[in-house]
């Protein structure tokens, strides 16, 4: 999915894919030929090995809704901050420790908007995008179960809630 926004010079894209991404390449594509962008913020989420315990992560997702939901979060960010671009990539499938899982890139004239929007996007992705992580462990008992949702992630999302926005749960 590639929800183009009507505003000129704003490129927004959402990708949900199995393949690994290249942060430098994505950033170069977003800024190529542009001389109006002042600030580029990127967030890359990597798979940690949990001190050697984790063999791989398996990420399940809800095809269709994953793209739609991330697209809605990107639209909110574009309404809330003067962004010149936003890209979100979220992987699914089997991911090894050290590999990237999620990428958020924001472009703006000034740094404060780019930082705030990138953090907002990540906080919402964590709690609203339909992805679930299962751990495969090293050793005899490989089933590490589903990763539990964290209350701190809900709290991180809640702080972006506008006074007039209805609570989600």
């Amino acid at each position: 999915m590639n929800p183009r926004v009507a505003k000129p010079d704003v490129s927004a894209a959402v990708r949900v894919e199995a393949a690994a991404f290249d942060v430098g390449r994505e950033m170069a594509l977003l800024t190529r030929g542009r001389t109006d962008v002042g600030a580029v913020v990127s967030f890359t989420g990597l798979c940690r090995d949990e001190d050697g315990a984790l063999a791989t992560l398996e990420i399940e997702h809800y095809p269709g809704m994953a793209e739609d939901e991330i697209g809605r979060v990107v639209e909110s960010a574009l309404k809330r901050w003067p962004l010149q671009g936003a890209l979100v990539i979220h992987r699914y499938g089997r991911i090894a420790p050290g590999e990237p899982i999620v990428l958020v890139i924001t472009l703006s004239r000034h740094r404060s908007a780019a930082f705030a929007a990138a953090e907002f996007l990540m906080d919402y992705l964590k709690t609203a995008a339909p992805f679930w992580k299962k751990q495969r462990l090293v050793g005899d008992r490989p089933d590490g179960g589903w990763v539990a949702a964290k209350a701190e992630d809900d709290a991180a999302t809640a702080r972006w809630r506008l006074p007039d926005a209805p609570a989600r749960d």
Partner: protein, 83 residues
């Protein structure tokens, strides 16, 4: 109506998706969860705790009180852990 199950819900029920035809008195997402909970052991386990399940109606997050009328696709899943 198509029902989709993801992650722990899918594993507990033992199904990824199925066609369902709830009776007319099943009006809300919460009603549907109660109705599905009576279809068997896996279902009963999956829907035992309403607060640990999330639902989406036609790929948009929904609440237990959301009305299901007109929905083509309903999904049930645990709290999300992406990012």
């Amino acid at each position: 109506m198509k029902a989709l199950y993801f992650a722990g819900v899918r594993e507990t029920i033992g199904l990824a998706e199925e066609e369902i035809s709830p009776p007319p008195d099943v009006v809300t997402v919460g009603d549907l969860m109660a109705w599905l909970g009576q279809r068997g052991e896996g279902y009963a386990d999956a829907f035992a705790e309403e607060s640990s399940i999330r639902a989406a109606l036609d790929r948009t997050h929904a609440w237990p009180h959301s009305a299901i009328a007109g929905t083509r696709e309903i999904a049930f899943f645990p709290p999300m852990t992406g990012g």
